[in-house]
Symmetry: C2
Subunit: 269 residues, 2 copies
């Protein structure tokens, strides 16, 4: 029988590692854990490889901030916590490193990547280029139905923006961007775009984006959708590119406005 992978709850001190993964330890007994019983396990069996599981779980942990940028990741501790050996952990960390979420310092350990302002700035620019391309492609591809969908989304955001309901606006905003990228018809673009967005989560000052004019941002969304609706690739490109670049400016000016705190030590190297 395979090792158990129980995500040993409470082994060390973890906030919320849910037993989202519990392969059939006893093939016979199967209480149907209230939530989907068999499908989950089958999916688990198919994933076939702790490393794959661990990779997504650790990515989640980093995204959720359970491990903060700059933190060192202890292999032994993780292995203990997940009830596995260090092998799969190391494999997962390698994959994460290639994605830039984590940094490998030989013989020292792996550290959650810490993004400098400059790097965040660079990432935004690349993201803008990709998003610009997504807009261009959408303008050439999207049909009436999809455009209507886009307009609906922008309208919903308009409402949230008017009432300054950031909690409602934020997920809608995310969804709109995802929609555009996913409907570009270019999976490579979508994948790279997502990677960049992930990386930006490591930027500690990210939360600053919040304040910045919901109405302004949504006005830009309207321009974007208009260009797509008109099938004007060039204009779509420009509006999409500018949208991200303006978001970058909003963030950067916010960062520079409160130069206090934050920037403790740069390049511990």
């Amino acid at each position: 029988m395979r090792p158990t992978l129980r995500f040993a709850a409470g082994c060390v001190n973890e906030p919320s590692v849910e037993a989202a993964a519990r392969p059939m330890t006893t093939p016979a007994l199967q209480k149907a854990d209230s939530m989907s019983s068999v499908a989950d396990n089958i999916a688990l069996m198919k994933s076939r490889s702790l490393a794959l599981l661990l990779e997504s779980e650790m990515e989640r942990m980093i995204m959720a901030g359970e491990i903060a940028p700059g933190d060192r990741i202890n292999e032994n501790q993780l292995a203990l916590r997940f009830g596995t050996s260090r092998g799969p952990i190391r494999e997962a960390l390698r994959a994460l490193e290639a994605g830039g979420l984590v940094e490998l310092r030989p013989n020292r350990g792996v550290f959650v990547r810490r993004l400098s302002i400059e790097e965040a700035c660079d990432i935004y620019a690349v993201r803008a280029a990709l998003f610009g391309l997504a807009g261009r492609l959408c303008a050439a591809r999207l049909g009436r139905a999809e455009v209507a969908d886009l307009k609906r989304q922008v309208a919903a955001m308009e409402k949230a923006a008017k009432s300054k309901d950031f909690d409602a606006y934020y997920p809608l905003n995310l969804q709109l961007h995802e929609f555009i990228v996913d409907h570009s018809g270019n999976p490579v673009l979508a994948s790279h775009y997502r990677d960049l967005v992930k990386l930006l989560h490591l930027f500690r000052a990210r939360s600053l984006v919040q304040g910045g004019g919901l109405a302004i941002s949504n006005g830009e969304h309207r321009d974007m959708v208009d260009a797509i609706a008109a099938g004007d690739g060039e204009r779509a490109h420009q509006s999409h590119f500018d949208h991200v670049m303006r978001a970058r400016e909003r963030l950067m000016s916010a960062v520079r406005d409160l130069p206090a705190a934050s920037e403790h030590k740069k390049a511990t190297r």
Copy 2:
């Protein structure tokens, strides 16, 4: 004492795995292998980790075509060949997978990624977007000296193009693109661009690019450099973007012109 890492020459049948890596097995004796003796070893010691070494070596092997797209990679065989255990090999493969060079099929093994025409097309588009951004940034950044350098490069290529000397043109072309990307001042952009170019090496029909009008291509280069020299970001973006997209069209039409052979089996899945 550490394991030896001899890259056991001739163990299985490898064409050219040079003993580029030979850490100080006997700290005393050090014959100064004719080439840089100590520095190499120190660099090796610093890299500290077979996995890191293996990663670059295997990347090289894939790039050089020593393992062809679609081929399965046998961990045991590689371990034997390199004189290591499978652990570091697996770690290196994980990293390569995240870069898209290699594909992981659980319980089956890892396979060198095989790029479909569609994927290559998608990658070209993303590459165009990144290159467009690079052009835009260069237009805003480059000084007289760098522009002069660019013009020199284009002039050299002009000469090669006139005499249809592809072997001279190709490396210059590569160098020009590298130059622009590197001088964009955005390392994230440069890194992603390079990854895409690497991926394109997996496209079997890549060699078709060759025939396609050297003079035409270099004419586009001239436009690019002109825009950069003028400091016209918008025009630079457009010319750089178009340059890659036209290269894509040249490749794609070449592919479609000889529909024979090649496309054996799609999606063995």
